[in-house]
């Protein structure tokens, strides 16, 4: 396959950035999207040019590191797939593909397609946990959880923290990410004790990081590679309102 790539190049966070066009003549349909970038970089290095910096690690769709905005969509044209699991058979010979980094003021560009997502870590630090020290736990089967709740909590907990939801949102809102963690813990008996404080603190941190508000467009759900449901945002709103009205702190 012949592919034309228009790739965002930006030397560092201070640089204005611009698009560069590259031509690849020998792309195999079996390659993953990132393997195509490996080929591009190999070519750039041989030509004495600076290779494109991009984040990636596990290349099996679970670490959440890869993060390319492809033809106007986070992680590209397929639903439920991360960039590393996108294969060139999803494109046609002769296609031009535009590749950009996640764009959100809370995710500053480090270089080219790499962005800084440490804001997500800080949101988790604000309350995305159950306060249990190692060694304090009782026998696991003394906590019974209806399968339905466990399954729902699990579905929310499968969020990989890639940030596609923020990149997809016109407001750069992190509500889907935050709601996934809040839901995961609010659905479990272990999460009840810190339930109110958790949601208030996480939302506060989310706002401080400069993420936008949710206007229920649903782009986050549509682009989430793990299919995290919008239902979680509804639950987050309920949790937040309830906590705001009843919290004793």
């Amino acid at each position: 396959m012949k592919i034309t790539l228009k790739v965002w190049r930006q030397k560092n966070s201070q640089d204005a950035g611009h698009f560069e066009t590259y031509q690849l003549d020998d792309v195999s349909p079996d390659m993953s999207f990132l393997e195509m970038f490996d080929v591009l970089n190999e070519k750039l290095i041989t030509e004495g040019k600076d290779p494109v910096a991009f984040d990636h690690d596990c290349r099996e769709g679970i670490c959440g590191m890869c993060s390319m905005y492809i033809n106007g969509r986070p992680h590209g044209p397929l639903r439920g797939v991360t960039t590393c699991q996108l294969h060139m058979r999803s494109f046609k010979d002769g296609d031009t593909i535009v590749v950009e980094p996640w764009r959100a003021s809370a995710f500053p560009v480090i270089k080219d397609l790499s962005v800084d997502r440490s804001a997500f870590d800080r949101i988790i630090q604000a309350g995305g946990y159950i306060s249990v020290n190692t060694g304090s736990a009782q026998d696991a089967n003394t906590i019974l959880i209806p399968k339905e709740n466990a399954d729902k909590a699990f579905a929310a907990a499968t969020c990989i923290g890639c940030g596609a939801c923020v990149a997809a949102c016109k407001n750069a809102s992190a509500m889907l990410f935050v709601s996934a963690k809040v839901s995961h813990l609010a659905l479990l008996p272990q999460g009840q004790i810190e339930r109110k404080e958790r949601v208030l603190n996480m939302i506060k941190q989310m706002d401080e990081e400069g993420f936008g508000n949710c206007t229920n467009t649903g782009a986050c759900e549509a682009e989430c590679p793990k299919g995290i449901s919008l239902e979680n945002i509804a639950r987050l709103n309920r949790e937040y309102i309830c906590a705001s009205l009843t919290s004793e702190k």
Binding site: P51, C58, E60, G64, T134, Q138, L144
Partner: protein, 670 residues
Amino acid sequence: MATSPKLDAKIPEGPLQEKWTKFRSTVPLVNPANKRNLEIIVVGSGLAGSSAAASLAELGYKVKVFCFQDSARRAHSIAAQGGINAAKNYQNDGDSVYRLFYDTIKGGDYRAREANVYRLAEVSANIIDQCVAQGVPFAREYGGYLSNRSFGGTQVQRTFYAAGQTGQQLLLGAYSALMRQVALGQVKMYTRHEMLNIVMIDGKCRGIIARNLITGELERHFGHAVILASGGYGNVFYLSTNAMGSNATAIWKAHKKGAFFGNPCFTQIHPTCIPVSGEHQSKLTLMSESLRNDGRIWVPKKLEDAKAIREGRLNPNDIKEEDRDYYLERRYPAFGNLVPRDVASRAAKERCDAGFGVNATGEAVFLDFAYNLKYKYGMMEANKRGIKNPTEQQLKELGRPIVEEKYGNLFDMYKQITGVDPYENPMMIYPAVHYTMGGLWVDYHLMTTVPGLYALGEANFSDHGANRLGASALMQGLADGYFIIPYTIGAYLSNEIKTKPISTNHEAFVQAENEVKDQINKLMNVKGKHSVDHFHKKLGKIMWNKCGMARNAKGLQEAIEEIRSLREEFWKDVKVPGSDKEFNPELEKAGRVADFLELGELMCIDALHRNESCGGHFREEYQTEDGEALRDDANFSYVAAWEFKELGKWELHKEELKFENIKVAQRSYK
């Protein structure tokens, strides 16, 4: 055989069942006020690193955590699929601490240390309790109780799981505990930092040199103790199921500063991975061992059928039952498709070498779900709904949702990568490098031969002997981090309460930093013709062909020579673009591959010296008549711990393995 005086494993006296309890009750403690003045560095944020850092911080120590990824949550433990073992005996099927201990020693082909493995089995149950308390959403039955499944090399159901994403859920649990300690100010995180050297002062490890990967600056960090939890070195093979960034640099730098390397040649080749599709391939993807609960592995019985499938003339679904060779069920009727990984991998290679491979390259076998989908799950549903004499089509439709729930994410991943729907066609799989049992030699305290330097999780040579059982890596990583290091580190730190933090202007820090600078300058200034990947791929081919699933003396001798000359070529002709004072992923890779080029040689030397076959180490010269691994207990019942002398030169030390609680026998899964 006597154990080398340089290897004191510090195994507590007394009966096996009492060693750990006694140790915990008598190990010196550090009082809370003193803990606040003691600093610990943790390198790596996977299951072992995150759980250790969080637990130590909870105790009151000041902890610094380093990882090269952009968040602690990205460590490659996240990709573990199938599950985690624990001797809970929730299934009432006869499990016990002893049985988990026994299975692990036997699975490791009698090349692991009894005391460590027994302790691992003992704390396994606590891990599940801890994780559930953290909110890890394990799979549950309708009554609300935890669910279990089987893994290879065992006959009980002791594996806890969260769909095919157990590693993710466990890591997010440990990560959340870690983030809580960060918020409390007990842990300081250094993400996008890579450890490039350790600092030795008066014979003790006192800190590290790390590179800030965004700015390129080198940083000096002091610690009263340093813990390496940096994972395994499977990427020495270039193609493996490891993440792209997984590397050996932390343990290798430590090795060159005095930490002995244990059993470097023990590599686990996982039987069920998606086969290589072409030259562009950057990594291999695992299909969880849990699939062997319900998938049956086969190749055609007739060579002409295999050929027809390879050429695309025959659909495997059209091959009649009697023309299929379920070779694991045939060779190992007792364990069938659930034999340990090393056995399953070799059996696949044997069939493919004999010409029965089923994909274009001839290196693939089938993993087929059709049987259980229809006759196990489909029939179960049909019975539940009272459908009499269901048709094949009905059974398929009824069984599919159940298979989807159990393995849906794995099936989706398979389809995404190969473009083939595994609900309709059997999967094609082939063995691939997955895990390294070898690693830094550690004693019962998990301390390396360098005082004050510990190694946890896959980074140590550990509990798995010559072959790790499925669902045991997660168990070991979390055991080390949550329940072992918090106790054992006290034995060392209780003697350090008077040690004031050492200034990072100390000459040892300056010297360690200069060594790092020199290597970086050297890499930047070669200005050769070929990219880092060019050399990495070449190294991978040598390792896979000559130090992979089957090894022999001649091949290993050749490999050693080839690696030495490739290393020379690398330092003459590698090309690293850009500058070292910026975000430069190529420079990061170059440093890691430089280390792999040294480690690869040691792996071959170790494989060459071990004149026996055991577990994942299969020397073609040493096999039984029916092709099983043939151990030599009289001469090789020891851990090989290698001391670095100079590049290309190592000294072998032996730790004798004594089996007092298990009868050593030839491993049989028949």
